[in-house]
């Protein structure tokens, strides 16, 4: 089995065993990062960021640099040929001769999929509008796997904005392929998971979904609590926002009823949805999660490039 030359547009483009291959390599990289410090010598990562991103772009650049590769690209469409009206297909065909693998972030949903149809090199989706953010999902899956030892039989609660949060959509979709996954969806009525996504899950996987507006009701029953930010502007009126905003803030006192081995995760950046006093709790893994994001991107890039990853310390 080889991932060489494949694209990563949607986590479900990879089989579970292919995902395991990525996670196994990421695990080895976490254990001994320096060992992989030159496996991408002479290789170039192209970064096509059609909309601003600091965290994702830097984590991809860091991942490539840590493996001895180089990076080129743009982080602002206004200063690139895109501003002259060049199509995605033309841009990617030209970039294919400048780089060996490319990561693309684009405000239009499906743009990286379109790019992959015309690219001669692997395309990684770095986020497309409100649709997918697969490398965040790989990061989340790796985090759960490292702490729980498996991705099966997990009850995962998603809390906050489940309507617009693409990280939530992507992770739910990916987790639904694992045996025994159960989902608890905690959100105000206005921000519930879109029906077409819920329907897609039930249609394909017959998964167990429970919806509630109350975090306290379910916090003692879940293995993973995935927090997301609720933005005030998403609410229809001020009164609803004021009534509900504290319901979706995780504090130390709310954690007291949760399981000892529950994980608190968050895609970051957070604003106030997780109180700072939670940071010291051993269940809070969101900063480790961000760190694992580098390793999973390193593993993904290396495997898509097909470089030799079987390196040993002499």
């Amino acid at each position: 089995m080889s991932l060489k030359g494949k694209h990563m547009i949607d986590p479900n483009d990879f089989s579970l065993s292919e995902l395991d291959e990525v996670f196994d390599l990421a695990d080895r990289m976490v254990d001994d990062r320096d060992l992989y410090g030159s496996i991408c010598n002479g290789r170039i990562l192209g970064t096509l960021f059609y909309e601003p991103s600091t965290r994702t772009r830097l984590s991809f650049e860091s991942a490539m640099l840590r493996m001895g590769g180089k990076v080129l690209g743009f982080s602002d469409a206004a200063t690139s040929s895109v501003s002259k009206g060049e199509s995605i297909a033309d841009t990617i065909r030209v970039l294919s001769s400048y780089a060996d693998v490319v990561v693309m972030r684009h405000p239009k949903e499906g743009a990286p999929r379109l790019a992959s149809e015309y690219s001669f090199i692997p395309v990684i989706n770095g986020g497309d509008g409100g649709h997918q953010h697969p490398t965040q999902t790989l990061t989340d899956l790796l985090t759960i796997r490292r702490y729980k030892g498996t991705l099966e039989n997990q009850t995962i609660a998603f809390c906050g904005d489940l309507k617009f949060g693409r990280t939530v959509h992507s992770l739910i979709s990916a987790m639904s392929y694992y045996k025994g996954s159960k989902f608890v969806l905690i959100s105000p009525a206005e921000l519930r998971l879109p029906e077409h996504l819920k329907y897609g899950l039930l249609e394909k996987h017959n998964v167990d979904i429970y919806e509630t507006e109350n975090l306290e009701e379910v916090i003692n029953q879940v293995d993973v609590l995935y927090m997301t930010r609720i933005q005030k502007e998403r609410f229809f009126n001020e009164a609803d926002y004021m009534r509900l905003k504290d319901s979706y803030i995780l504090s130390k006192s709310k954690l007291k009823d949760s399981r000892e081995d529950m994980l608190v995760m968050h895609p970051l950046p957070r604003v106030n949805e997780i109180s700072y006093d939670v940071d010291d709790d051993k269940r809070a893994v969101y900063f480790k999660q961000a760190e694992f994001g580098i390793y999973v991107r390193m593993a993904l890039i290396a495997l898509l490039l097909g470089v030799n990853v079987n390196v040993n310390r002499k």
């Binding site: 995605i88 949903e109 499906g110």
Partner: protein, 143 residues
């Protein structure tokens, strides 16, 4: 009760959901043909309550896929010498390319000429939808 003569040789498009008859009439450009065509609307139906029927006194090519997208209950009868010689159901395609647009305004297929909208069949609450291959939103075909 209104009566319409049967046709001798041609096509009868039957079991059209009431209201869709005029849309199919226009889609098939039947207002431009030179042979006899009858559009019946609000005909009593045991199955549908009311239905529309189109009778065409000529054997024209009818796109069963397009009819299936508009109205999956439609049947198409081929008439020869006053008799039904073939009865066809519409086809509900599993995959559709380029026939309609994705309803998601943020979908790349609505802003990039290279992105021909591609859809896979999906069902939701007993209705037929198509899932966009680019953005995964559900779209139903409307005319």
């Amino acid at each position: 009760m209104l009566t319409v003569n049967s046709i001798n040789c041609g096509i009868v498009i039957d079991h059209i959901t009431a209201g869709n008859g005029i849309k199919i009439f226009e889609k098939l450009k039947l207002d431009e043909v030179i042979f006899p065509v009858v559009l019946l609307i609000n005909v009593p139906s045991n199955k549908l309550g009311r239905k529309d029927i189109i009778k065409i006194e000529n054997k024209i090519d009818v796109d069963l896929t397009m009819l299936g997208l508009i109205d999956p209950d439609i049947t198409v009868n081929i008439i020869e010498d006053d008799k039904i010689v073939n009865k066809m159901n519409t086809i509900i395609p599993k995959e559709v390319q380029g026939l309609f647009k994705c309803k998601n305004p943020r979908c790349v297929s609505n802003s990039d000429d290279y992105a021909t909208p591609k859809f896979r069949l999906a069902h939701s609450n007993g209705k037929i939808f198509y899932r966009c291959g680019y953005c995964e939103e559900l779209t139903s075909y409307t005319i």
